[in-house]
């Protein structure tokens, strides 16, 4: 282990770098020879679902904090939620959260049941959660006004945490490429090579 990376979010998990220089391991420390990545499919699929679900948890925290705030904080002579522009944003947060939840439930059921669409669905859940919850976190930040920017208020932490999910366990774009390669194996998934 050479260092701990200081990250913008999810900072209570310590991300690190490792260097192997003629690192000797007894042969019996082997788990899988040559086909390790294929064998880890069970890990990878569950991993995408778990990634999306953690992301959803951040979104739920954003919603809970914001719903509480806008129903108690008074501005312009009334609590924030009575300002219609605020109420609309809160509804948008709730809708995105429910949509993410629905996809996670469908995808996790597919993985549990070994459904043929499970590879596509778990990548869809992961990438969809990352972008939708980022929007939820942005609403949370904005609805808190200046307080949203204050470290001691804790909303900016949720925003930073949400941002990490855009690339953790695959970037948004790579996730989409995986989806389309899996959906259209004969065209998008086929080795392109020179097209003549």
């Amino acid at each position: 282990m050479t260092k701990c990376n200081e990250t913008m979010g999810c900072r209570f998990m310590n991300n690190g770098e490792l260097v192997f220089e003629d690192c000797r391991l007894p042969v019996d420390h082997l788990l899988v020879q040559n086909t390790a990545l294929g064998s880890a499919g069970q890990y990878f699929r569950a991993g995408k679902i778990i990634q999306a679900a953690k992301n959803l948890g951040v979104g739920v925290a954003c919603f809970e904090r914001t719903a509480d705030y806008v129903q108690n904080y008074v501005q312009g002579g009334r609590i924030l939620i009575k300002h219609q522009a605020v109420a609309l944003r809160l509804a948008d947060m709730a809708t995105r959260i429910e949509a993410v939840r629905a996809l996670i439930e469908r995808a996790s059921k597919a993985v549990d049941e070994g459904h043929p669409d499970m590879d596509v669905l778990c990548n869809m859940a992961k990438v969809y959660a990352s972008e939708e919850i980022m929007k939820v976190a942005t609403h949370a930040l904005e609805l808190h006004g200046g307080n949203g920017a204050m470290l001691e208020f804790g909303i900016e932490k949720l925003f930073r945490d949400a941002a990490i999910f855009l690339h953790m366990d695959a970037t948004v774009d790579v996730s989409r490429m995986k989806i389309i390669k899996t959906m259209f194996p004969a065209t998008a998934g086929k080795y392109a090579g020179p097209e003549n």
Binding site: N14, G16, R24, A36, Q42, I49, A61, K157
Partner: protein, 214 residues
């Protein structure tokens, strides 16, 4: 609304979700809210108090994926992924970094459960169970390739740069892994390395366990 409750959860799932939610409300969120400066503590080992992982241990979620024969918690297999999703969401509702820490333990435990020879399971599962601060990590990402490795096709050029070769009865590993979750403080790593550079990544990558060198 907002929380998971579509009426289809099993009793096990409901119990686990409720105990996770209580743990988050009673221990995690109060810590996070009243210690926001700890997020910026530049001594990474000190950021999260030991009591938080001990709390995760108390409600039985630190060693999910470890077979019951080793004293772990085996979830109902037919709904295992759904249950992991429920628990992950609840913990991340308190802190997503804490959820990341725990998730690596679950995922790597499942890998060990599925693929590790018995002598490795006999060695590592008891250690994981004995120490609430014991963390596992999974080393895939490299400076020149991560999720984008899946974009090219399954050809030798896309293989991992970290290599393992058999020499005098040992695997000798050379290379670099970066952006590894729990990479700083894990006690055991699962490391992926190229073991056959003449074939694609799916046919030429091997995994092995590497204890922390601390």
């Amino acid at each position: 609304m907002i929380h998971a409750d579509d009426g289809s959860l099993s009793q096990e799932q409901r119990l686990m979700r409720d105990s996770c939610r209580a743990f988050v409300d009673d221990a995690v969120t109060p810590f996070i809210r009243s210690n926001w400066q700890r997020d910026w503590d530049m001594s990474p080992g000190e950021r999260l108090p030991r009591s938080i992982l001990e709390g995760a241990e108390t409600i039985g979620i630190r060693t999910l994926g470890v077979p019951e024969a080793y004293g772990g918690v085996d979830l109902e297999r037919e709904t295992e992924v759904r249950t992991f999703a429920l628990i992950s969401e609840e913990i991340a509702r308190g802190d997503s970094g804490l959820a990341d820490k725990l998730v690596q333990n679950w995922k790597v435990s499942i890998l060990l459960r599925e693929f590790a020879p018995k002598h490795l399971q006999d060695k590592w599962f008891p250690r994981l169970l004995a120490d609430p601060q014991f963390l596992l990590a999974h080393c895939l990402t490299e400076p020149r390739g991560a999720s984008d490795r899946w974009l090219p096709y399954n050809v030798p050029e896309a293989a991992m740069h970290t290599k393992a070769v058999l020499k005098d009865g040992h695997w000798v590993i050379n290379g670099r892994k970066q952006f590894i979750s729990n990479g700083f403080d894990a006690s055991l790593y699962v490391v992926y390395a190229n073991t056959d550079s003449s074939v694609g990544m799916l046919q030429g990558t091997s995994s092995s366990t590497r204890p922390a060198s601390r």
